[in-house]
Structure formats: structure tokens, C-alpha cells
Symmetry: C2
Subunit: 143 residues, 2 copies
């Protein structure tokens, strides 16, 4: 059954890993797992470590080409009556510095204890949610 927006937001907020899909000018979708935080109608994604190539990451190049992105969290277990997923379709912007980036990093640090000693040092992706979608195999009230 379809999930309402409040349930979608609660499930995405509570999950620990999701995936980010971006698509650049060449039309090839790109997928990476992400850590993230949810603040109202915004999804915040940090970039953890400076890669050898600097921050010239495919996800950032794709967003520069095309800011439309999707984020998905899902739950799988052998009991298929307990499956669920939540998707955000949204519009991404990238923050490389400033107070808004600092506030977003603080949200990530609050969610993940791992970041307390080593907060994400790179650009931060902010996704403005255009649409929430979600599905569960059975009534969430029964979970």
C-alpha cells in the first residue's frame, strides 16, 4: 500500500543508509549509497572524504548538468510482508561553504556518531523535496 507523506518522511528520517541517483548530460544514471539527514522538506547529503581526484565527483558533475535527483531508502528481509521503501524526487543544490553548509553538516553530525570526530569536509548536497513516494507490503500500523 502507498504511504502518506508523514510516514515517508518518518521512515526516511529513521533509516541510516539511502541511495542517490543523478543523471548528467549523457543520460547514464549514476547511483551511490549515501548517509544523509532529513530536515523538513530538505534532504542533506555530505561528502565524507576528499578523494584523490579532489571533489570532481560524478554525482556533483551530474547535478551541475541536471539538478533533478532521486533518493531511495528501503527495507528488505526474508519475510516479504515487511518490505517497504520511500523515495524522494527532488532538486539538488551544492553548497561549498557558508553558514547554510555548516548547519547542514551539523545535522549530519547529530545523526551519525561517526562524524563527531571527523565531520564531512566536502561540499554538501541539499535536495529540496518535490515529491515523496512510499510503499509498504502491509499496514505500517501493524508493524
Amino acid at each position: 500500500m502507498r504511504l502518506d507523506v508523514g510516514t515517508c518522511r518518518a521512515l526516511l528520517t529513521g533509516a541510516e543508509v539511502a541511495r542517490l541517483a543523478t543523471t548528467g548530460a549523457d543520460g547514464q544514471p549514476h547511483l551511490v549509497p549515501i548517509t544523509y539527514a532529513v530536515r523538513g522538506e530538505i534532504v542533506i547529503i555530505g561528502i565524507d572524504q576528499k578523494p584523490k581526484s579532489g571533489y570532481d565527483l560524478r554525482r556533483l558533475r551530474n547535478i551541475a548538468d541536471n539538478p533533478r535527483v532521486a533518493v531511495l531508502a528501503d527495507h528488505y528481509e526474508a519475510d516479504w510482508t515487511r518490505l517497504w521503501w520511500v523515495r524522494v524526487d527532488g532538486t539538488a543544490t551544492v553548497l561549498t561553504d557558508g553558514a547554510e553548509r555548516e548547519a547542514a553538516v551539523a545535522d549530519l553530525v547529530r545523526k551519525y556518531p561517526h562524524y563527531r570526530t571527523d565531520p564531512p569536509g566536502g561540499p554538501v548536497i541539499l535536495i529540496a523535496v518535490d515529491r515523496w513516494s512510499g510503499w509498504t507490503a502491509s499496514d505500517p500500523a501493524g508493524r
Copy 2:
């Protein structure tokens, strides 16, 4: 560290859930969780149940527009030294009937006991792998 093709294939083969990203003509990436099977350089994705709308699914419309797709499996746990992910970038075709579709459904039934009594009845997506990518936070030999 980056994973070699054989390790990528083994990890994807062994995982139970992955995610499919497709992008249609409008440039909006679409993401859904998938069950799937791996046969060599092919990823097989079934469509389980006939939705109310028939098989006019976004993923199928997007593939008709643009056959370039991505599939991602990942592992998350609180111990971030144990994270890994595997991605396939590939080219999708859709089979609606015939012997090749039947063989693909048989692969799905072999992997998922759930399908033994209720095999996927819809179209089957075959993804020809163009590229394997994978990453692990630590040496896979040490896992």
C-alpha cells in the same frame, strides 16, 4: 578500496536486494528497490505483480526512452569499516514473452524461494553489464 570485477559480481550475486535507476526523456532519475538474479554479465529483474495500471510502469517507460540504467547493492552497518557497495552500469532490454524470458524467470525463482509458488508474471528486464564498479571500506579478504 576499489573492488575487482570478480568481487563485484560475487557480492551482487550474493545480495538479496538492489536498486534500479532509470532516467526517461524528462531527465528525472527514477529509483526502485529490486529483486534480481545475476547470470554472468547479465542482471535479470522481474516484475512481480500486475499493478492496477497494468505494466505501464515508470521504469519500463524510462527504459523505452533511454536504455542506460544503473543497479546498486550496498551493505551498511554501524561499523563503517565494513561498508561496501557494488554498481552495474548497463543497457536494458525488456522481454515480454518467449523462451529467453522463461529462462530469466527460472533464474529468479531459483534465487528467491518466495517465487516458487508465485513467479514474477510481468515483463522481465535484462541488463547487459557495460561496467562493474565497487568499493569497500577495508580489505575484503579480511572480512
